[in-house]
Symmetry: C2
Subunit: 163 residues, 2 copies
DNA sequence: TCCTCCTGGTTGACATGTCAATCATAAGAG
DNA sequence: CTCTTATGATTGACATGTCAACCAGGAGGA
C-alpha cells in the first residue's frame, strides 16, 4: 500500500487521521446508543437481534444461524439472549431435530417493541449520521469503510512484526 | 440540513452507508484492541491513561484533569484506575492542597510498559489503518470524521422528533 | 460557628464483551 | 453397540462502560 520505505511509525498527519476516525466512531456509537435507549428502550444489540428474528421465516432462528446473521460470537449472543429473555423479548425453545440446539423466537412483546424501535432507529440514524453528510461524502464514507473492512479482515489476524 | 421534503426514513443507500460505517469502525476497534492486547498487554483504555500521564508535568495529574485530557467520565476513569492500580501501573496519592482530591501518578512499571506499548501501538495503527488508505483517502477520512464529530456534538443531546 | 450548597472522587448495580471451560447430544469409526 | 470426536450452546470469570447514589471536604453566608 504505502511505500515510503522503512518508516516504522505513522506520521503525525496519519496519527491525527487515526485519532479523528476512532474518536468520531466512538462518539457516534455512544450518541446513537444513548438516543436509541431514550427513544425506544432498545439497545443496538437488542435491535440487531430483533431485526434478524423479524426477518426470519416463522420469526425464529437457530441460535448459531442468528449469530452468523448478525456476526456475533456465540457466547456473546447467548449472554445477550439471556438478558432479552428475562425482559420477555425473545423465547428459547428446545429444538426437536437436534436436541443440542435451540430455537430463538421473537415474542409478541418483542415484535411490538421492535416496531417502535425501528422508527426510532431510522430517525436517529438520519439525524445523527445521514444529515451530517452530503451525497458525495456519504458514498465516500461507504467506500472507505468497505475498504477498511476488507483490509482488516485480510490483515487482522496476522500480528507479525510487519517490517 | 437535508431538504428532500418530508422523507422520514433514510434511503437504502443511506442505510447501507451507515451500516458499512458502523461495522467497519467496530471491526477496526476490535482488531486494534486485540492486536494491542497480544503485542503489549495494554488495552486502548490503558494506553490513553498512560499516554496522558507520561506527557504530564511530573508524570502525574489530578484525577479530573486526567479525565478531561482523555475525554472520559469521572466514574469510568475511577473504575479503570482501580484496575490499573491493582496491576501496579499507576498510584493514587492524597492531594495536600485539596484533601478531597487525588494525584494519579504513573509508576516505574507503568512507564516501562508504556514504552513497549507505544511501539506496538504505532505498528498496529499503521498496519491496520494507515496501510489500508492512500493519502487522499486518509485526508478524506480525517475531514469527514471531524465533520461527524462536530455534527454529533451540536445535535447529539437534542432527541426531539426532527421533522 | 453552623448551615447549606458545591465539588472531587468513589461506589454499587447493572449492561455489555471476551475468553476458556464445560455439558449434552450427535456422528462416525471400530 | 461402544468409544472417540465434533458440534450447538451455555456458563463463569473477568474487563469495560454507564448511571445514579453517595461521601467527604471546601466555600460562602448568617
Amino acid at each position: 500500500m504505502t511505500t515510503s520505505g522503512t518508516r516504522k511509525t505513522p506520521t503525525s498527519t496519519e496519527l491525527a487521521a487515526w485519532r479523528e476516525y476512532i474518536e468520531a466512531a466512538e462518539e457516534m456509537r455512544r450518541a446513537v446508543s444513548s438516543a436509541m435507549q431514550d427513544q425506544s428502550g432498545v439497545s443496538s444489540g437488542d435491535y440487531s437481534v430483533l431485526l434478524a428474528l423479524s426477518e426470519a421465516d416463522g420469526h425464529r432462528l437457530r441460535s448459531s444461524a442468528l449469530a452468523d446473521d448478525i456476526g456475533w460470537e456465540r457466547s456473546r449472543l447467548s449472554h445477550h439472549l439471556g438478558r432479552m429473555e428475562k425482559r420477555g423479548l425473545v423465547a428459547r425453545d428446545r429444538c426437536g431435530e437436534d436436541n443440542r440446539g435451540a430455537w430463538i423466537a421473537i415474542t409478541a412483546e418483542g415484535s411490538s417493541l421492535f416496531r417502535t424501535a425501528s422508527a426510532a432507529h431510522f430517525r436517529v440514524i438520519r439525524r445523527l449520521f445521514v444529515d451530517a453528510l452530503d451525497d458525495g461524502e456519504l458514498e465516500g464514507v461507504r467506500a472507505v469503510s468497505a475498504a477498511l473492512r476488507r483490509h482488516v479482515r485480510s490483515t487482522g489476524g496476522n500480528a507479525s512484526q510487519d517490517d
